[in-house]
Structure formats: structure tokens, C-alpha cells
């Protein structure tokens, strides 16, 4: 293995280091007679694992420390993954979540001993109601996609109650992939509604298609192109007139928070990704939180338990006969709810409005800096994110994937690529409100430099990255012939 210096060296797997007899612990000598598991008739816990790493404490620490240095996170710099809203996670939220008065409680404690935790959840629900204009929320879903599934189950519960079983849910072709997946999982059939030339839902096509077999329309506003669906009220009216419901994927609520309310636009159900709009960590894939809000008519179907207030007391309302059931163990990801609560309180109404304004301003600033070098497939004004394509680079034989890889050489995490699907070679950039003008300028400069490289030395971009511990990976071989676990030298 080539060693390299400590910043560029490759790090093998832990099985590659260590040696026979090394270990990271030292136990005192046995001061009782040894017990023979086999003779006593008990099952041994497990057999020795062939090839199990034998490493000292220092080797383990250094191995994982080196790995951690190869990471890139929101604490390192701009993380422009479109649609993901990778905003900075304020440390005060982490501090509060680690306070033993919160993390020391147990979900099975009697209500009277956890009044503060219940009050927090009740108030968070009130905040979300106020922010979105909806009548009530369940805080339980652990992610946006689970919020979607819960919402669809609620739609079905309502229609069953009406004796009106409709099989279809309409989804725009720019939708997040989770939308059709949730539709399918909840037993509905997903049907695509095309976007018009402006990148918005084609209202006429929707009007022609909308009928009494359609349970709901599921949309995102602003949509995944970062464009506000200006006809949202007419869209909701078309769906409502035929007895359907409108579900809004709240992934992009951060473009509207404090400015406009989905509930006022005619939306019936909406999930809110707390790990996007409300700054809670995305973690290594979790835990997240995707509270689901609904209009008055759907309140009885919200999952149990919910916190209710009785005078000065907060309690769990367990008796909810029409609820779609329970969607999470205990009370949802409480630590995440707590962080979002802290974020909302520390911002206040004016601060939240500034979040949306900052997110929109930053995205449009990047758009203005980059629109000369990169093609913009949809002309409509951007809200919190902007979608470019590789059309201007294509003739040089450079594609989106190459530009994304090259960005790492210039010190930035790449944007979301090849999404939304309706844009060929999409690069979806969402800077969030967190970033300073200096960071945005540096990011734009890196992309401008890459555009120049494409013109002058396209091969350099096509073969990127060049400065990372590992270069261009063979993603095709990895997908066609995946190897899922380490195997020792043959």
C-alpha cells in the first residue's frame, strides 16, 4: 500500500492492519476458577471469526481518525445538495438535546414526570400549525417519506369512510422518487402528470385527467426545479372539485417558511422535513423527522398518540378510534423534535422569514454568477435552488458526472446530479441561507474554473477527481458485480 502523506494517503480496511496477538484491552488475571462452557452444557456465545481484526487501541484510534478526516460535512463548508437543504445545524440545538433533563428521560415514565417534554411537543405542533396554516400535526414520522406514507394512509382512511375507493394518485414528472414509492407502498397506483414548458404542472392536462378515480394529487411546491407553482390555487381547485385531496411534499418548505403558508393555498396534507427546513442534522441517514400536518377534516385519522393539553396539564391522547394506527415506536424521534423546537424559538417569526429570504437570495445569486457558463433548462425564476444542465459542456465530451467529480478537486461537495429526472444532465444547486457571500463566491469561482477547464483541457475534467484519496470509481463494475463484504487475500 502506498503510504502518501497524512492528507492524501489511502486508508485500507481495518482487516489490513494489525497483527496476531494484538488487542485493545487488558483484563486482570482471573481470580475465580475458569468455567468450561461446553462442559457445563451451555452454548458458546459464538465461534471465533476467521480473519477478525487483531489491532491495538492506538491502531483502532488512528484508523478511524484518519477515516474521519476524509469526510466532508456541513461543518467543513458549503454542501450544495439540491432538494436536501444541507443547512448548518446550530450547535445550541445539539447542546440542548444532550442536556440530561431531556436525554435522561425514559418514554415509559409517567406523564406527570415528563410534563416539560410533553409541553415541548405540544408547542412544536402549535408552531408547525401556525407556520403551515394546517389544523393539526403528528410528530411521529421519522422521515419525509414516512410522512408521505402516513398521509396516503390517511387519505385512504377518509375515502373508506366515505365509501369511495379511488385507485390513483397523480404525481408530476418532476417529483421526488419517494412520492411514487410511497404511493405504491400504500396500495395506490401512481400516474404521471407532465410538466409544461415553464417547468410547472400542466394545468390543462391536469384538468383533463382529473376524475373520480383519482384519490389525490401529490406535488412539491416550490417544485424540484426550484420553481413556485404559481397556479397552485387553481390546481387545488381542480382536484377538490372532483373530490380529490392535495398532498404537498414539504421538502422545499424552506423557500416559503415565514412568507407563505401551504394551508392557505388549498393544500390538505403536508409533511415537513425537520432535518431540512428546521436545521436538524441529516445524520448518517438518520434519525430524521417528517411531521405530517392535515386540514381539520382529516384530524381524526392522525396516528396516535398525540399530546393534548388539559388546563395546565399535558397528556397523551391514546384513544383515537379513527386513527390510522401508530407509525413510530414510542413518540417519534424526540431528540430531533427538540432541536427543531429550539431552532424555531431562536429564530422567531422574523428570523424564519429571513431564512426563506436568505435561501432564495443565495440561490439566485449563484444563478446570476453561473448562468453564463452553465445552461439553465427552465427560465422561470428560482426560489431556494437552481437547476443547471451540462448542455454547454456536452460538445467537449464532458458530462454532469465529470463536473461533479471535478468539484471535489476544488474543495467542494458536489451538488445533486441527474435529478430532477426531467432535466437531462441536471445539476441541482441549493446553497441554503447559511452561506456567506464569500463562500458563495468561492463556490461559483470553482464552477467557473471548471467551465474554463472544460473548454481548454476537457480530459482533466473527464478523469477527475485527482486530489482525493481515491480517484474515479468504477461505479458500473460496482453495480454490476457488487461485493458486499471484505474477503481476505485469496
Amino acid at each position: 500500500m502506498k503510504r502518501g502523506n497524512s492528507f492524501t494517503r489511502r486508508e485500507g480496511v481495518i482487516f489490513d492492519i494489525g497483527g496476531e496477538g494484538r488487542k485493545g484491552y487488558a483484563l486482570p488475571d482471573l481470580d475465580v476458577p475458569p468455567c468450561d462452557w461446553y462442559r457445563e452444557g451451555a452454548e458458546p456465545f459464538r465461534d471465533d471469526i476467521d480473519g477478525f481484526p487483531r489491532v491495538s487501541e492506538a491502531e483502532v484510534v488512528r484508523h478511524f481518525t484518519r477515516l474521519s478526516k476524509m469526510n466532508y460535512g456541513i461543518d467543513d463548508g458549503l454542501y450544495p445538495l439540491g432538494s436536501c437543504s444541507m443547512k448548518y445545524n446550530p450547535k445550541i440545538n445539539e447542546e440542548l438535546a444532550r442536556d440530561e433533563r431531556f436525554c435522561g428521560v425514559h418514554p415509559l415514565q409517567p406523564e406527570s414526570t415528563v410534563q416539560g417534554c410533553l409541553q415541548l411537543q405540544w408547542e412544536l405542533e402549535e408552531f408547525l400549525k401556525e407556520i403551515t396554516g394546517l389544523a393539526g400535526f403528528t410528530l411521529q414520522p421519522a422521515a419525509g417519506a414516512q410522512g408521505e406514507l402516513t398521509g396516503l394512509l390517511i387519505i385512504r382512511a377518509l375515502q373508506r369512510q366515505r365509501g369511495d375507493n379511488r385507485p390513483v394518485v397523480l404525481i408530476p414528472d418532476s417529483a421526488h422518487g419517494t412520492n411514487p414509492a410511497s404511493v405504491r407502498l400504500s396500495g395506490y397506483r401512481a400516474e404521471e402528470i407532465p410538466s409544461d414548458a415553464k417547468g410547472c404542472i400542466d394545468l390543462e392536462r391536469l384538468r383533463r385527467r382529473m376524475d373520480r378515480d383519482v384519490a389525490a394529487l401529490m406535488l412539491t411546491n416550490p417544485n424540484t426545479l426550484g420553481i413556485f407553482e404559481e397556479q397552485i390555487e387553481a390546481i387545488c381547485q381542480v382536484v377538490h372539485e372532483k373530490g380529490g385531496l392535495v398532498y404537498c411534499d414539504g421538502a422545499n418548505l424552506n423557500a416559503l417558511v415565514g412568507v407563505a403558508r401551504p394551508g392557505d393555498m388549498g393544500i390538505d396534507l403536508l409533511h415537513v422535513n425537520l432535518h431540512k427546513t428546521f436545521s436538524t442534522p441529516h445524520g448518517g441517514g438518520g434519525p430524521g423527522a417528517g411531521p405530517l400536518g392535515v386540514v381539520e377534516e382529516l384530524l381524526p385519522f392522525l396516528p396516535f398518540p398525540r399530546v393534548i393539553r388539559d388546563g395546565e396539564r399535558y397528556l397523551w391522547e391514546e384513544n383515537r378510534p379513527n386513527a390510522v394506527g401508530r407509525v413510530h415506536g414510542f413518540f417519534g424521534n424526540f431528540g430531533i423534535l427538540l432541536r427543531a423546537y429550539a431552532y424555531i424559538l431562536s429564530n422567531g417569526p422574523a428570523g424564519l422569514r429571513a431564512v426563506a429570504e436568505g435561501a432564495v437570495l443565495n440561490a439566485n445569486y449563484l444563478r446570476a454568477l453561473l448562468e453564463k457558463d452553465f445552461h439553465i433548462p427552465y427560465e422561470a425564476r428560482s426560489l431556494h435552488e437552481v437547476v443547471f444542465s451540462d448542455q454547454k459542456q456536452e460538445s467537449a465530451g464532458v458530462r454532469t458526472i465529470d463536473i461533479a467529480k471535478r468539484l471535489m478537486d476544488h474543495g467542494f461537495h458536489p451538488p445533486t446530479i441527474y435529478f430532477p429526472l426531467i432535466v437531462r444532465g441536471a445539476m441541482m444547486v441549493e446553497p441554503t441561507e447559511t452561506e456567506t457571500i464569500q463562500e458563495l463566491d468561492a463556490f461559483a469561482a470553482a464552477l467557473q474554473l471548471i467551465a474554463a477547464e472544460v473548454r481548454e483541457s476537457p480530459e482533466l475534467v473527464r478523469t477527475a477527481p485527482h486530489t482525493t484519496p481515491v480517484g474515479r470509481l468504477d461505479e458500473v463494475a460496482a453495480a454490476r458485480h457488487p461485493i458486499f463484504r471484505w474477503r481476505g487475500p485469496e
Binding site: Q391, R424, V476, A479
Partner: protein, 128 residues
């Protein structure tokens, strides 16, 4: 080049052959857009395909896409070679990368599909 004698759909599938037994696949344009294909999910022999309805999926390193049948018919044979070698679709979309042989329900249903010249124009017009 797209074969002259084939017919093409807006969903970028081709259909070829004479009589009621026809071969079906995805076009060169489709495979180029998808990029390296890593997995194909196809129906079983005996399954019935509906016109313009999805019958399977094709997965590339970029995305998973649905396959749409240009016409209605019954699946007679499935290209088993693709299970181990999905790259055949990239290498030879009109030959070894074929997907299905189907018994077409109504031979007239092929007529409205695009000719090679029409399909070429369609691709040009729809590239944004």
C-alpha cells in the same frame, strides 16, 4: 444508426419483425441517455403486455427507468442473457440487447408507431 425497417415509440422502444411474432428493445438513443445499464427487470413468458403500460424496469448508474410496451401482446421469449450481461443493451441495442419476443395482439397496432426518419426527428425536437 437506427435500423430503417424498425418502428419506434415515444418512450424510446423499438419493435421489429414480420407477422405476429415481434422483437422488442430500447433504442440506441435510450441506452446512451441511460448510461451504463446495470440491471434489467423483465416480465415472464406468458405475461400479457398492455399498450403504453410499463412492463419492466431498466437500471443504470444514473437512474431507474420504466420500460413501456409500444403495443399489446403476449410475451413469448425473454432475453435471459441480460440477467448476467445487462451491458449487451449498451453494446448492441438493436441486436444482442433485445428484451422480449412478443406475440402482437393486433398487427395493425404497429402502424401508428414512428418510422426511423420520424423517430430521428422526434429526438431532435425533444432534446432540450
Amino acid at each position: 444508426m437506427n435500423p430503417e425497417s424498425f418502428r419506434y415509440s415515444k418512450e424510446h422502444e423499438w419493435i421489429n419483425g414480420e407477422g405476429e411474432l415481434r422483437t422488442l428493445g430500447i433504442t440506441d438513443h435510450a441506452q446512451a441517455e441511460l448510461g451504463d445499464i446495470v440491471f434489467v427487470e423483465l416480465p415472464k413468458e406468458g405475461d400479457h403486455l398492455k399498450a403504453m403500460q410499463p412492463f419492466g424496469t431498466v437500471e443504470s448508474v444514473k437512474a431507474v427507468s420504466e420500460l413501456f410496451s409500444p403495443v399489446a401482446g403476449e410475451v413469448v421469449e425473454v432475453n435471459r442473457d441480460l440477467e448476467e450481461h445487462p451491458e449487451r443493451i449498451n453494446e448492441d441495442p438493436y441486436g444482442k440487447g433485445w428484451l422480449l419476443r412478443i406475440r402482437v395482439a393486433d398487427a395493425r397496432s404497429i402502424e401508428p408507431l414512428m418510422t426511423e426518419a420520424e423517430y430521428r426527428k422526434y429526438i431532435q425536437d425533444s432534446s432540450r
